[in-house]
Amino acid sequence: MAYIDYYKILGLNRSASAEDIKKAYRKLARKLHPDLNPNDKDAQQRFQELNEANEVLSDPEKRAKYDKFGENWEHGEEYEKAQQQYRQQQQAWGDQQTGGRTFFTEGDFSEDDFSDFFRSMFGSGFSQRTQSHGTRKYKGGDYQAELHLTMRQAMQTHQQTIAVDGKNIRITIPAGVEDGQKIRLSGYGQQGVNGGPNGDLYITFLIDEDAKFKRLGDDLYMQLTINLYTAVLGGDVTVTTIDGQQLKMKVQPGTQPGTKARLKGKGFPVYKKDGQAGDLYVTLNVRIPENLTQREKELFTLLSNIGQ
């Protein structure tokens, strides 16, 4: 566990007054508060550090202890371990002597204060102080999560189970979610402070690309290769949509390569609009015959001559 310079976090030196600390905290909190920096993990991390720094330095008792041990906090931890050992020994032996106390304590802090100091610096002490000093209920922090879906999964309303904080949550994903779209699940975030409501869980959907279909909003795009004869003479081709439907599509005689055909309502489902879907655009590519037989060559030559 590395030493944390709380003064550095607040941009202050060790002689800073309580008022300086309050001002520096508020100034940085306004800059780094997660409410004002949505989706900024760096700001969130720095805000946590800032809160911890403020937790210690704004409390005269904790600050005094922090200043006293400073970078040598590890020795303090050794003291505490030794102290715990001592207490266990005292209990085991039923020893009524109290001389040990003066050996382990330095200055004027008690055993309990000493362990509180470390808890407050490195973890659970933060919430304890908040609970004992504050009476206002606060909503817990929000969680951010990402969920990968294939395009085919995203086009169907379906359920998925995700693990948050060791709990499995079953969520319904509506058809039509977009890449990068975020949904909020109320109450699935961190536990509230002082009995306040839980935070929320935000899930960002990341939709993987599909090999056959490209998506733009609610419309889908695909390529379909037709043979030269259908392109020249016209005819019917079969288009397989993303949900596996086989549709017959008419190709007009004289269709040029790159021609786009629209199949209305055969695209991606519109988010939270049951029964509505975008369109499917089919770009027609024309396959030029290769390895012609002698007969085919003769016929193409004949056509070529007619055309000239």
Binding site: D35, P38, R136, D179, G180, E209
Partner: protein, 98 residues
């Protein structure tokens, strides 16, 4: 939309917040408080997330109600711009993949 409502007096009690603060948020149009036929005041449960956010800004960050109003509208714009950015990025990815 969720039409669940919380009694205004309960809300004050739960959040241990000044009435004057919520009233000034209402005056600024940041929260809406409805009144029923018995003159009981209510806050929509849907609005509690925003209210909690305003409380954090007011009590933790020392931002006054005018500041909250400005911030709220700015964040709304940031959110809209973020959505627009996401949409445009999706479009770029689409055209690049062609």
């Amino acid at each position: 939309m969720d039409n669940k409502k919380l009694l205004y007096s309960e809300c004050i009690k739960i959040y241990n917040v000044d009435e004057a603060f919520i009233d000034s948020l209402e005056d600024s149009g940041l929260v809406s408080i409805s009144t029923d036929e018995y003159n009981e005041r209510f806050i929509e449960v849907e609005e509690l997330a925003d209210l909690e956010q305003f409380m954090r800004w007011y009590y933790d960050l020392n931002i006054n109600v005018e500041g909250i109003e400005a911030l709220y509208h700015m964040l709304d714009r940031v959110k809209a711009m973020q959505e627009e950015l996401d949409r445009l990025q999706n479009e770029i990815r689409f055209y690049k993949s062609l």
